[in-house]
């Protein structure tokens, strides 16, 4: 499976540097609204980072009337911006808020992983963003959970002599 942007929501401190950096890189001006990675400040000190998940069967692709959205062979969701008419149907349908309207060009855009070297990942100061394969993230989570469970068992379960 191809690498995707994996967000560790616990590490995110909500500084929005990824959002600003993405806007600068893609739109050549500072701003937040047209950024392809969005940081949401939830209640308390919780933050939520949402970007394109590159779904296998994207709802945005189904919603697009102009067939501007397609899946590449590598599994990425690709947009043909010249075909986009800016109807915002994909923005309305995406369950993650990952598609945004580029207000400079009046087309809908989403994360294209910066052709394999995402800028947001390189500038993230806390390491909350990672560019890895999904199964690597799954494996490390399994290992961490197993370590937690093993230690819990060692500390609490009565050991037979």
């Amino acid at each position: 499976m191809e690498k995707v942007i994996v967000v560790n929501q616990d590490l995110c401190n909500g500084c929005q540097l990824c959002q600003m950096g993405c806007h600068l890189r893609k739109n050549d001006r500072s701003g937040l609204r047209s950024s392809r990675i969005q940081v949401f400040h939830l209640s308390g000190s919780e933050n939520l980072v949402q970007t394109c998940n590159h779904c296998e069967e994207p709802i945005c692709k189904t919603a697009c009337l102009m067939e501007a959205i397609s899946k590449t062979k590598k599994g990425l969701t690709e947009r043909n911006e010249s075909a986009c008419i800016g109807c915002e149907a994909c923005i309305a349908m995406c369950p993650f808020g990952a598609a945004v309207l580029d207000t400079d060009r009046e087309v809908a855009v989403s994360c294209d992983l910066c052709s394999g070297n995402p800028y947001c990942v390189t500038i993230c100061p806390t390491g909350a963003l990672q560019f890895i394969e999904p199964q690597v993230e799954g494996l490390s989570k399994r290992q961490l959970a197993a370590e937690r469970m093993a230690m819990a068992g060692r500390n609490k379960v009565y050991q037979l002599p």
């Binding site: 499976m1 799954g138 068992g153």
Partner: protein, 176 residues
């Protein structure tokens, strides 16, 4: 009324990393190369100053309040009311991997079709009237037990009672 939630108990003192459960699971469920519905994880622990390696089979835990179910945007993940098994509907799954980000245990797996698949606790076997999962049947060390919390606690108590009795009386006439 007691809980009907089926769950899976693993005795880390018995598991010896033979990975028969992984093989049996793949054969039983026809899992392609790549995803592993259950996986024996090696953990290094230090106990009383001695370093040990423990082995922990990690299938889906079929949580009572699953994080993957809440994270799924299409409602593809469901929890059966009859025995609490968490199942995924591949027709509804769009492969967005939100379940993997939400799961604390790294359980959701993605095969060649990039759709989520995971341990079903051999739901088809229970529906056919069998009482064991494939991994439980394959485990030679009897490290894996599947059942409701009541059944599992009863089995653990019986195991403990048998081992204490054997220690007290040996396996001689009094021990029987």
């Amino acid at each position: 009324m007691t809980s009907r939630q089926k769950t899976l108990y693993v005795d880390t003192r018995r598991c010896m990393n033979c990975r028969a459960c992984e093989t049996a699971c793949k054969l039983e469920n026809g899992v392609p190369a790549g995803p592993r519905w259950t996986m024996v994880t090696e953990v290094e622990v230090t106990q009383d100053g001695v370093d040990k390696t423990m082995f922990l089979p990690m299938p889906c835990l079929h949580c009572g309040d699953p994080a993957c179910l809440k994270a799924c945007p299409t409602g593809a993940i469901s929890k059966r009311t009859v025995d609490g098994i968490v199942l995924v509907d591949k027709e509804k799954c769009i492969g967005c991997r939100q379940c993997l980000w939400a799961c604390q245990f790294g359980v959701p797996q993605f095969g060649p079709d990039n759709k989520m698949e995971k341990c079903t606790l051999c739901v088809h076997r229970f529906d056919d009237g069998l009482t064991e999962t494939a991994c439980q049947k394959a485990c030679q060390a009897e490290a894996i037990m599947v059942g409701t919390v009541d059944e599992i606690s009863k089995a653990i108590r019986e195991r403990y009672a048998t081992s204490s009795r054997n220690q007290l009386f040996g396996n001689g006439i009094l021990g029987r």
